[in-house]
């Protein structure tokens, strides 16, 4: 759809062009190859991660190991003595957790492309001519009215543009992210407008999974002790291996439950009031001197807030992990190299689709 605006330069036609027309670039390059932020890309731009994805393997490892031990040691016993559906429930929850986690990690959080040189020059011109009272060396700000409330927009020196409301610059990823929530090291990515719902579903499903495993392990131990006491049968006594594994599961679940449940609860509050972690920490809307300024982005009902945060359509839902079957790989990933135009400086332009 966007390929119609640009023409691809084929290497074969280069020799046919007159020398008088300098070609800006010889080889078409994908937009993510010239992306100036600190992200890394795999699978030809379909998967992106932040530079520091260090703790993501740990998160995955913890989840896999705990669930693995659960299936190995607790499921056989519980299937027999409790219910046949225990492994099925655990498997479904586990799938949810892993899918949500991978989508959170590999989805573009809502990175704003940096301003093109012309756009940056245009903005600078407007700052100079507006006669604002701010000094040149002080951070540039612009005040706008949103829902009759004064909101300050800051100028981002790295991205050379005035940040839209609720956008923040992540120093770890070196990008401006829309509706910036926080940079999550466990997930190895920023959490922003486009992957917040995956992050939230990851937290909620992980809470359920952890609670479920914790409950099952406790039930397992209790049943074993009861049976041992009742029948005094040596068959039901714990082996050393099993004891160790069950203890490991208990410890991981116990510590995870408090942190994950707490985080889920906190983010549920944020979703219900249409706030981000960033705004909540900074106390932007809490008001000074007892004056309650109120969140200009919040709607009147909690239900609307939840729907806005979790259901409002994404820009392009399928960027990130997989591309849709039947999607024509559009040449829109190529730089706008148009033959015959006077040399235009190459811009690191890109859009939300890689």
């Amino acid at each position: 759809m966007k390929g119609c605006e640009y023409q691809q330069i084929h290497l074969g036609t280069l020799s046919a062009l007159p020398h008088a027309v300098p070609i800006p670039v010889a080889v078409p390059r994908r937009k993510w190859q010239v992306f100036p932020g600190r992200n890394r890309f795999f699978c030809d731009g379909r998967i992106m991660v932040a530079k520091q994805s260090g703790v993501l393997p740990l998160t995955l490892g913890l989840i896999f190991i705990t669930v693995g031990l659960f299936f190995a040691f607790d499921c056989p016993f519980l299937m027999e003595h409790l219910s046949r559906f225990v492994p099925a429930i655990a498997a479904v929850l586990f799938l949810f957790v892993i899918i949500s986690l991978l989508r959170t990690s590999f989805t573009d959080p809502g990175i704003l492309p940096r301003a093109t040189p012309e756009e940056a020059a245009d903005v600078e011109r407007h700052i100079d001519t507006s006669g604002s009272s701010t000094y040149r060396t002080a951070p540039r700000t612009k005040e706008i009215l949103i829902n009759k409330q004064l909101v300050k927009l800051k100028y981002c020196f790295t991205c050379k543009m005035f940040r839209p409301p609720r956008t923040s610059h992540c120093s770890l990823c070196d990008n401006c992210v829309e509706r910036f929530d926080h940079h999550c090291p466990w997930v190895g990515n920023c959490v922003g407008k486009r992957n917040y719902r995956f992050f939230y579903s990851f937290l909620v499903s992980l809470s359920f999974l952890t609670a479920f495993i914790f409950g099952c392990v406790i039930t397992h131990l209790t049943l074993r002790i009861m049976i041992t006491v009742k029948f005094f049968s040596p068959l039901h006594v714990f082996g050393l291996n099993m004891a160790f594994c069950t203890a490991l599961e208990l410890v991981v679940c116990f510590f995870s439950i408090w942190s994950i449940l707490g985080l889920s609860g906190f983010h549920t509050y944020l979703v219900a009031s249409n706030l981000t972690t960033n705004e909540d920490i900074k106390g932007l809307w809490s008001g000074k001197q007892g004056e309650d300024m109120g969140n200009p982005y919040s709607y009147s009902s909690i239900f609307t807030n939840c729907c806005v945060v979790l259901c409002v359509p994404l820009g392009v839902p399928c960027d990130g992990l997989v591309s849709r079957p039947g999607c024509v790989p559009s040449p829109s990933g190529l730089m706008p190299c148009v033959t015959g135009l006077a040399p235009v400086p190459r811009d690191p332009v890109w859009d939300k689709r890689f």
């Binding site: 759809m1 966007k2 119609c4 605006e5 023409q7 799938l95 949810f96 899918i99 949500s100 989508r103 704003l112 492309p113 301003a115 093109t116 012309e118 756009e119 245009d122 903005v123 706008i144 009215l145 949103i146 829902n147 909101v151 543009m161 839209p164 409301p165 609720r166 509706r179 719902r197 995956f198 579903s201 200009p296 982005y297 609307t304 729907c307 806005v308 979790l310 259901c311 409002v312 359509p313 994404l314 820009g315 392009v316 839902p317 399928c318 997989v322 849709r324 079957p325 148009v338 033959t339 015959g340 135009l341 006077a342 235009v344 332009v349 859009d351 939300k352």
Partner: protein
């Protein structure tokens, strides 16, 4: 028979097609229409007419284009039964539903791209202007490229 009049004395101004622009014109300037945040964070653009375009296009025409774009973006982001349903379905299937389904937002984005293409072909390119789809700039600005007038040296009769 009348002698063939040279183009110099032609009554009609030479119009540009999009192809002509791409192949011959050089860029004179770029104008950026910024976002309008007064109604919140939904995507709306300012309808203020930039002074650089005064010689090229009607104010009404420009405002009509921007207003239509604003309406289309509002339609894309509209919270209705459809978006709730899509959201719930997506949540239940762990967002894998988008592997086989195109969302309402995507459909409207395609409509917007088609509209911009159409506006360029019919209205802007003949006047030596080019609209860039805002999605190319992260929905931050509507970039309008002003090409140098190729009919320099010809008398324009109106």
């Amino acid at each position: 028979a009348l002698p063939h009049l040279p183009a110099l004395w032609s009554n009609t101004r030479k119009t540009h097609s999009l192809q002509d622009l791409r192949q011959q014109a050089s860029i004179a300037a770029k104008v950026f229409v910024q976002r309008d945040y007064t109604t919140g964070t939904i995507c709306q653009f300012q309808t203020k007419f930039p002074s650089e375009l005064e010689t090229r296009i009607d104010k009404q025409q420009f405002e009509e284009t921007i207003r239509t774009l604003n309406n289309l973006y509002a339609e894309a982001e509209k919270l209705g039964g459809r978006s709730y349903l899509e959201g719930c379905l997506a949540c239940v299937t762990a967002y894998t539903i988008f592997l086989c389904m195109e969302t309402h937002y995507e459909k409207v984005l395609k409509k917007i791209a088609k509209y911009i293409q159409e506006q360029n072909d019919k209205i802007y390119a003949p006047r030596g202007l080019l609209l860039t789809d805002p999605i190319e700039r992260g929905l931050r600005v509507v970039e309008i490229t002003i090409f140098e007038d190729q009919s320099n040296g010809r008398i324009e009769g109106r």
